[in-house]
Symmetry: C2
Subunit: 218 residues, 2 copies
Amino acid sequence: MRISELAGAAGVPVATVKYYLRDGLLPPGQATSATQASYDQSHLRRLRLIRSLVEVGGLPLAKVRQVLAAVDDPDPDPYEAVGAALAALPPYVRTEPPFTRASAALDAIGLAYEPDAVAVAQLDAALAGLEAAGRPLDVDALRRYADDVVGLARREVASIRHSRTRQPQQVADVVQDVVLGTVLLEPIILALRRLTHAALFREREERGGDGQKPAANR
Amino acid sequence: MRISELAGAAGVPVATVKYYLRDGLLPPGQATSATQASYDQSHLRRLRLIRSLVEVGGLPLAKVRQVLAAVDDPDPDPYEAVGAALAALPPYVRTEPPFTRASAALDAIGLAYEPDAVAVAQLDAALAGLEAAGRPLDVDALRRYADDVVGLARREVASIRHSRTRQPQQVADVVQDVVLGTVLLEPIILALRRLTHAALFREREERGGDGQKPAANR
């Protein structure tokens, strides 16, 4: 397809596609004349990944580049390759290891982890934030959250392709699946949580308000 | 307490406290001399709220001001007051109503909502992002996420104080509870999800790799 068709299929301006091409985020198409090139499904897929990272994930281009490097030249071990890509995703926390709060909490709830994983740093920063706000999260409360999350996470991992052969292309597909599943589904989960809060809160305030009015009336 | 004690208790530099005082984010203390003032627990609580919003939530000060306005001068209806505060929290999406994707999805899964709530806009943007990435989320998948979230949300709402009397101070307490529960607990949930993914993924890759090595060995 031509550059205008590629841009149209991804829903972005042609100027944006040209910018990504100049910047090397998007590989060049197959030249068909001195001024034209042809693009294929791999370009469309890459363009959609970049847009998800920028528009939904809010990643700066330097971090997008880091994710793409992990997709293009993946570690042969899918676990390591996925870890390298996820390390470029927000939230960006400034804490340094050792992540003693998070390690102690994860040990207590019995969840296996890599001590220097970015998600451990993120958990550590979040636990520190709760402490600083005067609302430390105890192990039982954290365990309840972990229990809530495990069913959802199990279903999600089951939906990711399994790269039995560890060929770079297959590992790259897995990395891209996980990155998109992280960037695109986290906002879904959080929006549903906020909406469920609102629905339950409204229901409770109305019940509490006069003890009569059922939530279904509003 | 003195300004240095207030800063120490909240774990922030004195210069930051002075900046918040000048900027009106933090109300002035009780003057004890021409150059000194005394601060109390309400200042410490306010300072901790600001730090949570800035450091964990990543809010710009204009949005912090919006949250504080909803805490200081709450709508008499706690539901409306909470909504006004949550409207200032990220993610900031640019979509405009009507939020047709989100409305259709929420109607299909049977979750009650206010059509113009910010969380509906956030859900709409997230669903649009999945579509743009070529991975639309169907109603069944969304319902499974909603089912996963409801248990957690129910427990959280039960933990929020109930403002039966609708006195401004009590509504303000509820608003602050909900804001902190949103800003501080969302990163906990997401970090646990990523860590659980990693643990399950590692387990699966190892089982799939040679069919022998148990996950517990790594």
